[in-house]
Amino acid sequence: MSDTAIHAQGVRKSFGSVQALDGVSLDAPRGKVFGLLGPNGAGKTTLVRILTTLLVPDEGEATVLGHDVRTDREALRPRIGLAGQYAAVDENLTGRENLVMVGRLYHLGRREARRRADEVLARFQLEDAAGRTAKTYSGGMRRRLDLAASLVGRPEVLFLDEPTTGLDPRSRRDMWALIKELVSGGATLLLTTQYLEEADVLADRIAVVDHGRVIAEGTSDELKARLARDYVEVGVERPDDLGRAVDALEDVGGEAQVEREALRVSLPAPNGARTLLEAVRRLDAADVGLVDVGLRRPSLDEVFLALTGHEAREDQREDQDGGQDGGQDPGGERNAAHRDVGEGEAERAEVTA
């Protein structure tokens, strides 16, 4: 058998006028964790639903463990597990009843279903709560139960759709530990997330998805190395300083980006501190009123921003778009987005070449 567990080529799917997936191609190797990273609405869930036979793609081909997700569903379903975005457990059943039910639906015998239920309960530290209805569980416990349910059938490929969205930081870290443990057992795992940190911690390979397309793919180190650039950030006193600052900074580093409301100009600094020094000299010479000048290292969020042109998490993006105090110039942001998406694509071509 091939080393590829999940293969997608040119997968498209639209819902009415919304193009959810616009030609997604990816290959996830066996026994590894493949991270699908992107904001809400990027098409991650649609892709997971296609790969788990819940949705039929409009175009393109997709196979999981060599089974075509369109034509070979019956053979594929026993071999995969899915834990969706919402904890898909029956609230009125106890934890154990939920797991036994899933086991029975994998067509395990009654006894075997019970045995496996007890095993996963122990492993997910849900033994004490096993006799309580899932309704009484905390959010973190429900997710654990949901994940446990996806393992009852001992799937060869496991799909986790945003396994930690909505969890508090501690539950999230617990979940990470569990997922890492699963992976050490040799599972193939496809994980979607909107948290960069999560993809960074868990995934061997990451595909960044935005607007239904894979815009970058590689290991987390590769992605960071390709995009991590220092920035010089300049805060000016008055709006009319902005233009002069931009003029003064021409040719110093990369193309300057202006955040009008925040009275800020930032530009890539290919030479780090030397670019900063040069920038300060020029700004001083041009007599620009300065509030702040500094060299900034990009965070993971900025890597994402550079790739997609917007923030990783929808809530942040909404804050910035909606609230004036977010301080971003929407027009400027959009322009930057176009440029950076272009770069992302170019870099992707580089990697695949």
Binding site: E74, A75, R77, E156, G186, L189
Partner: protein, 281 residues
């Protein structure tokens, strides 16, 4: 560490050959039973749901018997004997709305996604739901209604077989109807809408029928509808059986027609519901 706790990916490859027909049929039955169990457990875990869904028909019995009963003339039969068959059908129809809300609830919560990703029969989600709600739960409430009816004077007037057959007709019709409710639940998808949508269309059907009053007193245009619509036919069929043929305006043909209606509903709505379930994402 046992095999199962080692994680996915370690299991032996499953048989690539598709299971045989017999095995598949066996699986279908298991899947349906497992789903029915799941839905019945809901009533065990939510005793209040069962309690309140029982109080409502009891209220109807009492209100109709004592408030309207005195004013409604049913020649040849006591009003309470006239009423109970109508109440039984009304109970299973109103109860069917729980199939609607239950399915819509499942769809809105994502558990259906889990079911659909499992190697189970797709029809089992619906078959299990209708078996639990539309048949078993209905039999329970029908028993309850008969008990309440007995307390306030209802008596079977025919043979034991006719009495049992009347319960059979009610159960069959209720089961058939639960497939219509299932379809509505799948179409509405959210529990609040389903609550309303599952109910409104049942009201005129039940009240513009022979369930509570003889249709002769209705205006001409309404009578034309009320006489032939399935609820009237079924109520008349049940009434024929419970009264041993003594009730006014009933005939043995009503029993057969009731069964035909039930069969026709199943024939149309089972495929529609299954189709909609496959389509519902």
């Amino acid at each position: 560490m046992t095999d199962a706790t080692r994680g996915p990916g370690r299991s032996a490859p499953r048989g690539a050959a598709a299971p045989g027909l017999v095995a598949r049929l066996g699986h279908n039955v298991t899947d349906t039973v497992v789903m029915a169990q799941r839905n019945l457990l809901r009533y065990v875990r939510l005793p209040r749901l069962l309690m309140f869904s029982s109080i409502q028909p009891i209220m109807f019995v009492v209100l109709f018997a004592y408030v309207f009963g005195g004013a409604i003339r049913t020649p040849g039969v006591n009003y309470i004997d006239y009423l109970i068959p109508g109440i039984l059908i009304q109970t299973v129809l109103f109860g069917a709305t729980q199939t609607t809300t239950g399915l819509a609830d499942d769809l809105s919560k994502g558990i259906v996604d889990r079911f659909r990703s499992l190697p189970m029969a797709r029809s089992a989600v619906l078959a299990g739901r209708t078996l639990a709600d539309g048949l078993l739960r209905n039999l329970f409430t029908v028993g309850l209604m008969l008990a309440v009816g007995a307390i306030i004077g209802f008596r079977f007037q025919g043979s034991v077989w006719q009495a049992l057959a009347s319960i059979g007709v009610v159960a069959f019709f209720g089961y058939a109807f639960s497939w219509i409710s299932a379809l509505i639940g799948l179409l509405t998808r959210d529990p609040e809408t389903a609550q309303v949508a599952g109910f409104i269309w049942v009201f005129p059907l039940v009240f513009a029928s022979s369930a509570f009053v003889p249709v002769q007193t209705m205006p001409h245009w309404l009578r034309a509808f009320a006489k032939v619509q399935p609820i009237s036919v079924t109520v008349n069929g049940v009434r024929y059986l419970t009264s041993g043929g003594a009730a006014p305006g009933v005939a043995p043909a009503d029993v057969w027609q009731a069964l035909l209606w039930g069969a026709a509903i199943l024939l149309v709505f089972v495929p529609l519901a299954v189709l909609q379930y496959r389509r519902a994402v």
